[in-house]
Amino acid sequence: MDDAKLIELLQNDPERGFDELTRLYSGLVYSVVRGKLKGVCPEADIEDCAADTFSDFYLISGSFDEKRGSIKTLLASIARRRAVNLYHKAIRERAHRAYPDEHEEPDTAPSPAERAEQAEERRMLLNEIAALGDVDREIIIRKYYFAESTKSIAKRLKMKPSAVDTRAHRAVLKLKSKLGGKP
């Protein structure tokens, strides 16, 4: 089912549309969230965060504009942001439990100029990842976005784990060099 039809179904028959939405994308959304929260939050929180993502999407689905991205990537983007927020919250709580008497570090947020520079650097980095060959790109995404283990990636790509590690290492060096660092 293409995006336009799915949005139409969501508007006209929300129950069925929502079923279809979760059927198609709960694997992706769960993987995106888990990639960030694995080992930090319990499984129930991970699933809850994935469910919140669909709920968020449902609320904005009426103004969906496919020029700004597909349903798939919009969901992935929402899921990741929710997961990142939860990740920081969990880390803060963990730190507070470990050192309850310590005060929080003063805010060292980057200046507007630094933020602009960071954003540009990240945009370039994403472009370079996209420009990697399909296999290398998939390895990088699985490793850094979905936090999959080498063994799991190797199984999916029908490669030896050592080959996955080698390709990941070379791809990272390539990205580093593209950003101006030494290979």
Binding site: P14, E15, R16, F18, D19, T22, R23, S26, G27, L28, V29, Y30, S31, V32, K36, E47, D48, A50, A51, D52, T53, F54, S55, Y58, L59, R68, G69, S70, K72, T73, L74, A76, S77, R80, R81, V84, E121, R122, R123, L125, L126, N127, I129, A130, D134, R137, E138, I140, I141, R142, Y144, Y145, F146, R156, V172, L175, K176, L179, G181
Partner: protein
């Protein structure tokens, strides 16, 4: 910043557009149950399924009642100096935890009384039972014989009788005999002092006579819904409403299907439409705010699902794409959709299978459209059960497992049934030649084990949850607190009988209700009901 951290930060902040190129062609997956849970929670959060938004686990009132009864009886027994067990702190703490869970007061009870009451309730949960052979196989183990008057301690007998009194003060003698499968349909509606009886009078050659469903409160008929000429195929109680589904004969010779909904305020009958003679409804399942009614066609073997809303005002029918040769015998809600128990009725070569069926599980979505089947390795359980010593002198090769009912419980599927260690049902009947009735009863009891099996459709694994020697596993339900209840028919007598010129085994049983608490304890009680089955 390290390059690894930079990559992660860039991906964390990526918008939808750059992700298009990054995620292209990359497949992801999650387990079916995870997807189901996420979907359900997401719908709830989006206001699309408010009914299931929050379900708080509560301890069943029946469990609390039985626990209270056992506590009182055992406290009395302890005061009389009847029992004297060594005190073990760990057990005491477990008992206190259990009592707290059941919201039962322990004031005024000694440590011994508390611990003994708990042991009585949670029989077999811990190690040290006389039947130690099965420990480690089933997650739960209970001893049916302990519930029989004369064989058990006074406390257990009193507990059983108290329970029976509460559940079924008086059961009208119907004189009806059912197959295990047919009887299953009647059992789930024994609860809270109320029970239901289907009353039928023979009618025309197609079976359309006078049919009524009657509700009894403590032995007294409270109401009845009747229709004639008709057949009531299935019924269920959902909250305050009792829902029946059946078929009526129309004067022009055709058949019309109906649903009747009865509650304190009204009685409504809705016509579903024309139905084939051979189509039989067998299950009504609630799933969130909607219902599904399942039917099978005994001529064609096809299965159908009717979806309807909470007022039973709108129906849509879907033919289920079940494997050829298999007939649906039981249905339950499962995740967002349903689980079906399929029994093989026609072999690959076209022969009718009456005695050695294979069973299969089908998982179907809420629209009845997407269906997935798998065959649990139920035969492999035979070896485990035999190795555990629940049936003597039998070999796993000759064992037959018969599945009777299916129910979702805590995200997994429970299958109730029974294992025959001495061959199939017909093998049993053939073996009866030359045996006295006592010998034959002992033979059937020794080889028949009620089994409650937990299936994980995601992993396609099975685990024995509970087993009971000398008994037939029957129907499953959840009580009002959502806790699992298993009906087990203890074999009292088995003898040969001839029906339509063919030898059968008639088995007389007593029906026991096993309740499972969230802490893993099992409580058994004699319901007082008796059931007879034909093999």
């Amino acid at each position: 910043m390290k390059i690894d951290d930079m990559i992660i930060a860039a991906l964390d902040e990526a918008d939808a557009q750059p992700l298009e190129a990054l995620l292209e062609g990359i497949e992801t997956s999650a387990g079916a149950m995870k997807k189901s849970r996420i979907g359900r929670a997401a719908r709830s959060k989006s206001g699309l399924n408010k009914e299931n938004a929050h379900r708080t686990a509560r301890v069943s009132r029946t469990v609390r009642f039985a626990a209270a009864a056992a506590a009182l009886v055992l406290a009395f027994g302890a005061a009389m100096g009847v029992t004297a067990y060594a005190k073990e702190h760990r057990e005491y703490r477990e008992a206190i935890s259990f009592f707290n869970e059941c919201e039962l007061p322990t004031e005024g009870m000694s440590k011994d009384s508390i611990r003994e009451a708990y042991q009585s309730i949670a029989r077999g949960r811990a190690s040290g039972e006389a039947s130690g052979l099965v420990i480690g196989l089933g997650k739960y183990r209970i001893d049916l014989s302990a519930m029989e008057p004369g064989l058990s301690s006074a406390a257990q007998t009193d507990l059983a009788s108290l329970w029976s009194k509460r559940l079924l003060e008086s059961i009208p003698e119907s004189g009806e005999e059912y197959s295990v499968e047919a009887f299953r349909g009647l059992l789930p509606l024994y609860s809270e002092g109320t029970h239901y009886m289907l009353s039928t009078e023979s009618g025309d050659d197609r079976g359309f006579g006078s049919a009524s469903l009657e509700e009894y409160e403590r032995g007294e008929r409270v109401w009845a819904f009747g229709s004639s000429p008709s057949i009531i195929d299935a019924f269920g109680r959902f909250g305050e409403s009792v829902v029946m589904v059946g078929r009526s004969a129309v004067p022009d010779g055709s058949v019309s299907a109906f649903v009747a909904v009865k509650n304190d305020e009204s009685e409504k009958v809705r016509n579903i439409g024309a139905a084939a003679d051979s189509r039989i409804f067998f299950s009504i399942v609630q799933n969130g705010a909607s219902y599904a009614i399942f039917a099978r066609d005994i001529d064609t073997g096809k299965a159908y699902m009717l979806r309807c809303n909470s007022s039973f005002a709108a129906f849509s029918e879907t033919e289920l794409d079940c494997p050829e040769g298999y007939l649906v015998t039981s249905a339950a809600s499962f995740g967002e959709g349903y689980a079906l128990l399929l029994r093989e009725t026609v072999s690959d070569t076209g022969n009718i299978i009456a005695d050695r069926p294979r069973f299969m599980i089908a998982i179907v979505d809420r629209y009845g459209e997407d269906i997935k089947t798998f065959s649990p390795a139920l035969d492999s359980i035979a070896g485990e059960v035999l190795a555990a010593g629940s049936a003597d002198n039998a070999n796993p090769e000759g064992c037959r497992f018969y599945a009777v009912d299916i129910l979702e419980y805590r995200g997994k599927l429970c299958v109730s049934g029974y294992l025959l260690a001495n061959g199939s049902q017909q093998d049993h009947t053939a073996a009866a030649e030359g045996m006295t009735e006592e010998e034959y009863t002992a033979f059937v009891r020794s080889g028949c084990t009620a089994l409650l099996i937990e299936l994980d459709p995601e992993e396609e694994t099975q685990t024995v949850l509970c087993l009971e020697a000398g008994a037939v596993g029957n129907s499953l339900r959840k009580d009002e607190a959502g806790m699992l209840v298993w009906y087990v028919c203890g074999i009292k007598e088995a003898r040969l009988t001839a029906e339509d010129g063919v030898s059968h085994t008639k088995i007389h049983t007593s029906v026991y209700e096993y309740g499972f608490t969230s802490s893993g304890a099992v409580i058994a009680a004699d319901t007082g009901a008796r059931a007879a089955f034909l093999w």
